[in-house]
């Protein structure tokens, strides 16, 4: 059993101003360890919603979500936070670095929310993560002093720091120019080669096609699920 994620019969609806929007309906999805899944679809079709459910940032209206063999249904707020902390790495379109913290502190942040690591272990991990994204020389900079591409690389380092089971990336290249976008994609492919499981929402057809599996959403439903020929080396 190498399923990291098993979604069955997931619905998600939002109630805003007394209008109910069905953002996801009857979603069935399994993601295996080592996969690089891209999710595409028109704007508003539910991609981000799906990703936030996977990341335990939100709860489904109905259906079952099993993560690493554990049912997530009855988890407490704190248990969900703990799983996000250890099992999931987030990469956002708008980077979401914390502006008052410098690069080092931003990357270190997830580790400060657990207390099983010593200071030296933390510092070692931060160094490693920064080295992986090639940003070891910018530790004392603040986010506002970095380019968009650099900020996203810091965000990826932050996502990697807890060695999560899965990386969730929501349009990671959406705010970047093509050169920086390519750099970020190269980085994700590199991580995938090294064994990471990645689930990435993207608009960009080329990016989507560079994954090992492509899922298309339309109107909250999965309308296509294709294994691609790119395999991790």
């Amino acid at each position: 059993m190498t399923h990291i994620i098993e979604l069955s019969n997931i619905d998600k609806s939002f109630l805003t101003d007394e209008v109910e929007t069905l953002a996801l309906s009857n979603v069935e999805l399994e993601i295996n360890k080592g996969e690089f899944v891209s999710i595409t679809g028109p704007s508003g079709c539910g991609k981000s919603t799906l990703l936030s459910l996977l990341g335990l940032l939100d709860t489904a209206s109905s259906g079952q979500y099993i993560l690493n063999g554990h049912n997530t249904e009855n988890l407490s707020k704190n248990e969900r936070a703990k799983i996000r902390n250890k099992e999931i790495g987030f990469i956002f379109q708008s980077f979401n670095l914390i502006s008052e913290l410098d690069v080092y502190e931003n990357v270190e942040l997830p580790l400060t929310y657990r207390n099983d690591l010593s200071a030296s272990e933390i510092s070692q991990r931060v160094e490693e993560a920064l080295a992986k994204v090639d940003m070891g020389h910018r530790k004392k900079h603040f986010p506002s002093q970095l380019s968009g591409g650099q900020q996203q690389r810091i965000a990826i380092a932050r996502a990697l720091i807890s060695s999560p089971s899965i990386l969730l990336a929501d349009e990671p290249t959406g705010n970047l120019d093509s050169k920086n976008a390519q750099m970020v994609m190269d980085l994700l492919h590199q991580l995938h080669k090294e064994g990471a499981t990645i689930c990435m929402v993207t608009h960009d057809q080329q990016c989507a096609d560079s994954a090992t599996r492509r899922i298309s959403l339309f109107d909250g439903r999965i309308v296509e699920d294709t294994q691609l020929s790119n395999q991790a080396a």
Binding site: L57, K77, N85, F92, N96, I98, Y113, S144, S162
Partner: protein
């Protein structure tokens, strides 16, 4: 311009809740500020309607570092300085006093002044009828040891006396009336409103002659002088101090620790209480700072929100100048409407205060408690200044914040570092301001409560008291005076409902002055004698008050003018000089420098009574009592112990007194309890003001801190979303907020507590005794503020943490 103003008005109308609350806060703040300004101005800075008022100074003695409130310069010293000084063109003495007016049928007592025509002229009054004094009105100058300074037979009366005693008699000029038992002719009636030097309505002309020597209990005067053109108050003051030093060198026995000070007329009434004026001013400034900070901050937040909207909509550089102007207009509108209501609130407050101040007694005639032209002009300035400060500070802040980059910023802090710093400054300032004000308020409230419940050593229930003064001519001899006392108390005691009656020169809570005391057999090299309260009493004084004689005996009918001069001392006196032996039989002398002074033999020791304010070192001061049969002061109180409400016996008191002598009016009739309460009336007033300060400070600070913190937390919703996505649990977020808030809190509390401590020390020196409650009050206040601050941080945080992290991330 007009369009912008209209637009601002429309924007305000769109949010009636916000507008209503800000206007209300503004109105209360400005109301308090205008009210306080009017009071402070009235107490200390008012420009009186006297020609060349700037050059008029009032001169009094400073004894033992305490400014004396009138009538304190030895007439010798007055004359000495007058002959030598260079700074003043006019230099005249006066003695404020009250006078018995009588026509043989009806007697009344009014405030008046024995005044040198030179001094009288300085106040610039015009007569309504008749004339004012000329130098010839004084028959001969008086010297220190004469019985009465009054050697004239004319009197000028004020409008009040003309109205109250003469029923606006237009033919009053040339009529005669007894002033303190001597016939005087009315030569003038002053115009309405003229009541100088303080609150006078009878003036009798006097002149002071050169004396041999200061001291010896002779007459003491106040001085009114006019500075020569170009001479400042300070320069004049320096010259006076030089003379005071000279006099101390020449007459060490009477003038050691005696100096001299000059003040404006308005400040004379405040004498040593200027400190309170300063503290009240400081408190008002703090409240206004809180109001300005809060409303400025609210206006800024509003403008920024709108600004962001505009920037997003136009996707252009925000038209910042216009938005700031818009905000200024809104602020102006709020301040002016608030100011309008503030003036109404201030007027109402002054109305309420008038009777309160009247119970203190002794106010200046310019204490009008009205918003006159001067006050209204100042109110306009206060409103304008507040409007500018409220609008300009956030405007400057807004103009220095780069809104566009804030919009483009991809990071999630939502708060620029700059606005973070602003929040820290604002919150710390609110904490520190409210902390200081609350400590001030808390300590005075408890202090005043202690004072009100103070123990003077007696039971003051069901006692009615009244003052009276026996005229000099008819009651020159102690025997005559004592006869009056005996007759009056005997008549009163026969009345049904009156249990007993007595007379004395002072009851607890007050004294009739202190005297230098010489103790027999106690060597005293430098002739510096200790001082003691000196009170002349009727024989039944202690029995009347239910105060025990601890040793020896009370006075009796056998103590007469001809028998051995006797004295009773308080236990505090006995303990001080004879800690190990009995005081009975020992001899003391009052006014030891006076060759006529006799040795007094101690025949009794009484329980200690408080003859001063009931706190501080003063309350332990010793007292000696002498029998009215041997020495009787002219100024006395008569007191009756009644079986029911003492005020029911007011008329009985007056009627019986008139039977003894119709020329001696009773005045100032109050129950002893009221008298003791009036003793602390000013303190109660100050404490009430502080309660208002405290409540306002707490509300403003709590609302302000809550407003700032909740906005700051809301702005950080996305940041918290990110942190939660990365695994932060609620506790982590709370901890983060507390860790970031702690420095603000501590800074505010420490600065506030230290400042509060100093203010309280200042208060302690004038109106309060600070006891063990100080620590507890401070601790309570510090924890209240801390709890307020922590709630203001955690409650909005709790609310944002109820969101799913996904929603927090998407929060705009």
């Amino acid at each position: 311009m007009l369009r912008d103003l209209k637009y601002a008005w429309r924007l305000l109308l769109k949010t009636p809740g916000f507008t209503g609350i800000t206007i209300a806060v503004m109105a209360i703040g400005l109301g308090l500020a205008i009210y306080m300004f009017s009071i402070i101005n009235m107490l200390a800075y008012k420009k009186l309607d006297i020609p060349q008022y700037e050059q008029l100074v009032m001169i009094d003695a400073v004894v033992d570092g305490m400014l004396n409130n009138g009538g304190s310069v030895y007439s010798h010293d007055f004359d000495y300085i007058k002959q030598r000084q260079q700074s003043y063109s006019d230099f005249g003495a006066y003695i404020n006093n009250s006078f018995n007016l009588s026509d043989g049928k009806e007697a009344k007592r009014y405030n008046g002044s024995l005044i040198d025509p030179v001094a009288f002229k300085l106040f610039g009054g015009k007569p309504l009828l008749g004339r004012v004094f000329s130098d010839d009105d004084v028959k001969s100058p008086f010297i220190d040891n004469t019985r009465s300074p009054d050697t004239s037979d004319v009197v000028v009366i004020g409008y009040h006396v003309w109205l109250d005693y003469f029923a606006k008699d237009n033919a009053v000029i040339g009529k005669t009336v007894q002033v303190n038992g001597r016939i005087h002719t009315v030569i003038g009636v002053m115009q309405e409103g003229f009541a100088y030097p303080r609150n006078q309505s009878i003036w009798v002309p006097v002149k002071v002659a050169a004396n041999q020597q200061p001291g010896l209990g002779g007459w003491q005067v106040s001085i009114a002088a006019k500075l020569k053109p170009g001479v400042s108050l300070e320069t004049g003051q320096q010259e006076l101090v030089t003379f005071a030093k000279e006099l101390t060198r020449l007459y060490p026995e009477s003038n050691t620790n005696v100096s001299i000070a000059s003040r404006t007329l308005v400040k004379v009434v405040m004498d040593n209480s200027m400190m309170i004026v300063h503290i009240l001013s400081g408190g008002t400034l703090f409240i206004m700072a809180l109001v300005i900070a809060n409303i400025g901050n609210l206006m800024l937040a509003r403008a920024m929100e709108r600004n962001k909207e505009v920037a997003i909509r136009t996707a252009l550089g925000a038209p910042r100048g216009r938005i700031i102007r818009q905000m200024l207009f809104e602020t102006l509108i709020i301040c002016f409407i608030g100011g309008f209501f503030g003036i109404i609130i201030a007027g109402w407050g002054l109305d309420i205060s008038k009777p309160i101040f009247q119970t203190f007694g002794g106010g200046g005639s310019w204490w009008t408690f009205e918003l006159g032209y001067e006050e209204l002009m100042s109110a306009c300035w206060i409103i304008l200044l507040t409007a500018i400060l409220t609008g300009v500070i956030p405007a400057i802040k807004a103009s220095s914040t780069d809104i566009n980059s804030a919009l483009r910023d991809g990071t999630r802090g939502a708060q620029s570092r700059q606005s973070g710093r602003m929040i820290k400054i604002l919150v710390s300032a609110e904490i520190f301001l409210s902390c200081t004000l609350l400590i001030m308020a808390g300590v005075t409230i408890f202090g005043v409560k202690n004072v009100i419940n103070a123990d003077y050593g007696i039971n003051s229930e069901n006692i009615l008291t009244s003052k009276f003064v026996l005229n000099t001519d008819a009651y020159r001899q102690t025997g005559n005076r004592n006869n009056y006392h005996l007759q009056l108390t005997r008549l009163l005691a026969q009345e049904p409902g009156i249990e007993k009656a007595t007379t004395a020169s002072a009851f607890p809570g007050r004294s009739s002055g202190r005297q230098s005391i010489q103790i027999e057999d106690l060597t005293n090299q430098n002739k510096q004698f200790p001082r003691s309260y000196f009170i002349t009493i009727s024989n039944n004084y202690f029995e009347f008050l239910d105060v025990p004689i601890l040793a020896g005996r009370s006075f009796s009918d056998n103590d007469t003018r001809g028998s051995l001069p006797v004295v009773i001392v308080s236990s505090s006196f006995a303990k001080k000089y004879w800690p190990n032996t009995s005081a009975i039989g020992k001899r003391i002398k009052a006014e030891p420098n006076n060759p006529d002074s006799k040795w007094l033999t101690i025949v009794g020791v009484s329980k200690h009574l408080v003859h001063s304010q009931p706190f501080g070192d003063e309350q332990f001061r010793p007292t000696i009592y002498v029998p009215n049969s041997q020495i009787a002061y002219q100024y006395q109180y008569v007191a009756i112990k009644t079986s029911s409400d003492p005020y029911k016996f007011q008329q009985t008191l007056i009627t019986q007194a008139a039977k003894v002598d119709a020329n001696i009016p009773l005045y100032n009739i109050f129950s002893l309890s009221d008298r003791l309460e009036r003793r602390v009336g000013a303190m109660v007033f100050v404490s009430n003001i502080f309660i208002i300060f405290g409540v306002m400070a707490l509300i403003l600070a709590a609302a302000g801190i809550y407003g700032i913190m909740s906005r700051s937390v809301t702005q950080r919703t996305q940041e918290f979303g990110v942190r939660r996505a990365l695994g932060a649990i609620d506790k982590d977020i709370y901890q983060l907020l507390l860790k970031q808030g702690l420095p603000m809190l501590l800074f505010g509390l420490v600065v506030g507590a230290v400042l509060g401590y100093f203010v309280v020390q200042m208060l302690a020196s004038i109106i309060l005794s600070i006891d063990d409650y100080y620590f507890l009050v401070t601790l309570t206040i510090l924890s209240t503020i801390s709890i307020t601050f922590i709630s203001a941080t955690l409650i909005p945080a709790y609310r944002t943490l109820q969101m799913e992290p996904n929603n927090a991330l998407r929060y705009e």
